[in-house]
Amino acid sequence: MAHLTIGKIIARSALSKYATRLYPFVKRAPYANTRGHIVNDINACIFCSLCQKKCPTGAITVKKPEKIWEIDRMKCIQCGACVDACPKKCLSMDQQYSAPSPAKNIESFRQEAAPEQKQP
């Protein structure tokens, strides 16, 4: 039976640098695939409600008459089903995680002007 088999690792750890990063001073760059949070380019949105239908948790609400697109960040599970479904590709997945929040707030986006129409 062996004794103190972890001794070598502990000695090396004690003499080497930290295994962890000194967050928040040193941050790891996000990977290209990282699913952080959903971003909507609201000016390109046509309020078709497909994202609302495809969302497995019901985090997205689309109000077509008022031209409002809402997302509940606490309900969203960052699966990306809405990004796959979006016909105008105005929805995208950002690599940064959404900021922590003390309350369940719904982020609301309103389209101010109609999308630019191509002149005939």
Partner: protein, 359 residues
């Protein structure tokens, strides 16, 4: 007979990762009976299947558990694919196998850390998680999430991983395995670890079979049974044998997991060597009809998915028998006759995942 005392253990306890409650009946320091109760985190996910489209439910299925997430998504997808008579492209099957084994490595490393923590070996706990972090980074790079993959879908996988990335991952895994191999002698040979685990929480082969134990709990009692041998995904194309230990105690169960991590490293390497080129998904049309039992090997044991479709967009019934639920009955037997300080070690030795159990 001494005076009997009932000590409540959990749902909040320093060694418990998730809430399970046990009423321990003690005579002096000896446990004579244990009454488990669950029901603290029931979320009703199975009911969601009846109101959500079957294509979207895979994301919900994955979130049944944070640690064995990928295999939940895989089990659900395989079930629906069978109901729809869809054949998944080989590259998707290989990617599923690679991700499932990566998820097994990170789950076992997490558990080995928690197990070390249960007998007070804090530095071993930290070192296991240090190695695990590198696996989690690979998962995030390929799938997009640290523990929630979001990569499995009905009909294949959602994102491909390039062959260059896979080759690089193979090299990275070699370095990670070398770091892991430095930790294994502590679990297997160290006198202080053995004093806490050998002969503790005995479960005989017959008891394990009759009580329906699954996974490392079953294999730790000497029963050769691994659901991966059924041959789902591409496990039949790879060279491997289930890991079995005969001891039936906490030491045997931890040794099974220690050796399974090495097996998973090997399976990932084999899958990366053999992965064919081609598409990663097929188009899905129609709605599922009929019923099917999908069985897979999770890090914690065999999971059984029951799916029943009635030709509509929603499943009629969705039921999961999770490995921890099957392992609670053997746990009660293991606890009988043990000393109170051994209770955390024995409870952790079945790798309890209560989120799965209650869904």
């Amino acid at each position: 007979m001494g005076t009997r005392t009932i000590i409540p253990f959990g749902p909040q306890h320093p060694v418990l990762p998730e809430p399970i409650h046990l009423d321990l009946v003690l005579e002096d320091e000896k446990v004579v009976d244990a009454l488990p109760s669950i029901g603290f985190i029931h979320r009703g996910l199975e009911r969601l299947a009846e109101v959500k489209d079957y294509n979207e439910l895979v994301y919900v299925a994955e979130r049944i558990c944070g640690i064995c997430s990928f295999i939940h998504g895989q089990g659900y997808s395989q079930g629906v694919e069978t109901l729809l008579n869809v054949d998944v492209p080989p590259r998707a099957k290989y990617l599923r196998t690679i991700w499932a084994e990566l998820s097994r490595i990170h789950s076992h490393l997490l558990w080995l850390g928690l197990f070390a923590d249960s007998f007070g070996f804090e530095s071993l706990f930290m070192h296991c998680w240090r190695v695990r972090e590198k696996i989690v980074d690979i998962i995030e790079e390929t799938a997009g999430g640290r523990v929630i993959f979001g990569s499995c879908k009905v009909g294949g996988v959602r994102r491909d991983v390039s062959n260059d990335t896979l080759r690089r991952i193979k090299d990275e895994l070699k370095a990670i395995e070398a770091q892991y191999n430095e930790l294994t002698p502590t679990f297997i040979n160290d006198s202080s670890v053995k004093r806490r685990t050998v002969g503790v929480g005995m479960l005989s082969k017959e008891q394990a079979m009759s009580l329906g134990a699954v996974g490392p709990t079953l294999r730790g009692s000497g029963v050769v049974w691994d659901a991966r041998k059924i041959g789902y995904a591409v496990y039949n194309d790879l060279q491997w044998e289930p890991v079995v230990e005969k001891g039936g105690d906490c030491y045997a169960r931890s040794t099974v997991r220690v050796r399974e991590v090495t097996l998973s490293f090997d399976l990932v390497r084999q899958a990366i060597d053999k992965i064919p080129d081609g598409p990663v998904d097929v188009k899905i049309t129609g709605n599922p009809t009929g019923e099917f039992f999908s069985r897979l090997e999770q890090p914690r044991g065999e999971v059984v998915y029951y799916l029943k479709g009635n030709g509509t967009k929603n499943l009629e019934r969705f039921r999961i028998r999770t490995p921890t639920f099957a392992n609670i009955a053997p746990l009660v037997i293991m606890l009988k006759g043990c000393e109170l300080p051994d209770v955390p070690v024995i409870v952790l030795s079945i790798d309890p995942c209560i989120s799965c159990t209650e869904r």
